[in-house]
Point group: C2
Chain length 261, copies 2
């Protein structure tokens, strides 16, 4: 069973990317919709929520954990790896590796929540791989609420997106990391606003490929033994809005189960 | 001691309105910034958070409680009144009474969070006072994130606001209730977009006046006996962003104390 958690519904973009590649995998998802969003909260608070989420997935039988939230990945990965014996994946490293391979002019841009950007984790990981790369980041805190409200192709979203991207474009990035699992929902719009010369790195598909590689390797193949494509979706709060967004992302109706915190 | 809670920082507009009128009152504030916002969450979740918040204020010595959050007021007032022996004020009734007195054409508009609007509490309370009044409401869920991000006078905020107000304007309301304690921060902009003929009812000042009247009455005067204008501000999460917003609302620097949940 692959355990996946996110601050809310956005992490389902990672579920979609994984199940597109591994349709028979058993998926256990937890979205912390009662405390969403994490992106404007402090690192300490995000860590304490992430431990609760990880413990829940393990109690329910997860054999690997994916932190499908850039904010939680940036704040809580080390802590969860110390705490658990099973593999803990985060969404930052796969996107970083792909971006470093992709850039030609060594200028990579990143957009994400306030907490993710201020953690500086993308800069640190990119420059660990290649110290010559210039990393330009911009917090884009209104994108998550706009996406959750279904403002997907409106003039307001376009304007706000333009505002967030201008400082990165004027400094001529050729690669842009979508540093939040909500953002793939706006991928086409972001690509259009970023311009033809900018390659978009989607952290959801990057992590999915990384998990597929891990499971596909000889010694980890048994994670899929006996699985039947089971999907369990838990959330800490249920509203019609969350259900609609989940359906929009997964392209199918989803049964969300309420887990009381 | 007057205990006041909100889902976050917005309830400080109520604190400001009360301390402007009662500078010597002792104020104990709790903002649930670790779980903000409440407005997109379910009524059950909002109720359970509200009970925790109320219990905290009482443990700290509150003699009256003000629910300075329309979302929590709409979901949890009855529950808190059953639970506590002290007076529990909510922000809806004073705004409703003022709006009913103000309207001439008997068409009142309301904007608020998704949870507040879908509770239907404004319609119910207005029509209890005057069944002939037509109540037109529109959920405006992006206003809180825009305010929290400091998009106070930007073209995007103006456009989104216009979108939220059009259905109310075309149906010719003459009175508009700001059904969220964040919205007074945008009061001038909202008034401009609503048009000259629309009177704006601010739930923060309405509740403040109602508390002043209550305390000013003979039998409740002792709530202010021996008070010295003490201010204690607790929040469940601290970030620089929350501090800036608090300062912006109260027009003075604020010491926020972290309360672990």
């Amino acid at each position: 069973m692959i355990g996946i958690f996110d601050s809310g519904i956005g992490g389902l973009t990672t579920v979609k990317a994984i199940t597109d590649r591994l349709p028979h995998a058993d998926i256990l998802y937890f979205g912390d919709t009662a405390r969403t969003p994490y992106g404007s909260k402090s690192a300490d608070t995000i860590r304490s929520y992430s431990v609760e989420n990880g413990d829940f997935l393990i109690k329910k039988g997860a054999k690997i954990i994916i932190i499908a939230c850039n904010t939680a990945s940036s704040a809580a990965t080390d802590l969860l790896r110390q705490r658990y014996d099973i593999p803990v994946f985060e969404v930052i490293t796969p996107a970083v590796e792909l971006a470093v391979k992709t850039t030609l002019n060594k200028k990579i841009g990143i957009i994400g929540t306030r907490a993710t950007i201020s953690s500086g984790i993308y800069e640190k990981n990119i420059n660990f791989l290649d110290p010559e790369i210039k990393v330009l980041s911009n917090a884009s805190p209104l994108l998550v609420p706009l996406i959750e409200e279904g403002f997907l192709d409106t003039p307001e979203t376009k304007r706000i997106l333009k505002k967030y991207l201008i400082p990165l474009k004027t400094r001529q990035i050729d690669t842009l990391i979508l540093g939040c699992t909500h953002y793939p929902i706006l991928k086409d719009l972001i690509a259009a606003k970023a311009g033809k010369r900018v390659k978009i790195i989607d952290s959801s598909t990057a992590i999915a490929q990384s998990v597929v590689n891990f499971i596909g390797s000889h010694e980890n193949g048994d994670i899929l033994t006996g699985t039947s494509g089971r999907r369990d979706f838990y959330v800490s709060d249920i509203t019609p809005q969350f259900g609609n967004l989940a359906k929009n992302i997964l392209k199918s109706t989803v049964n969300l189960t309420h887990r009381e915190l």
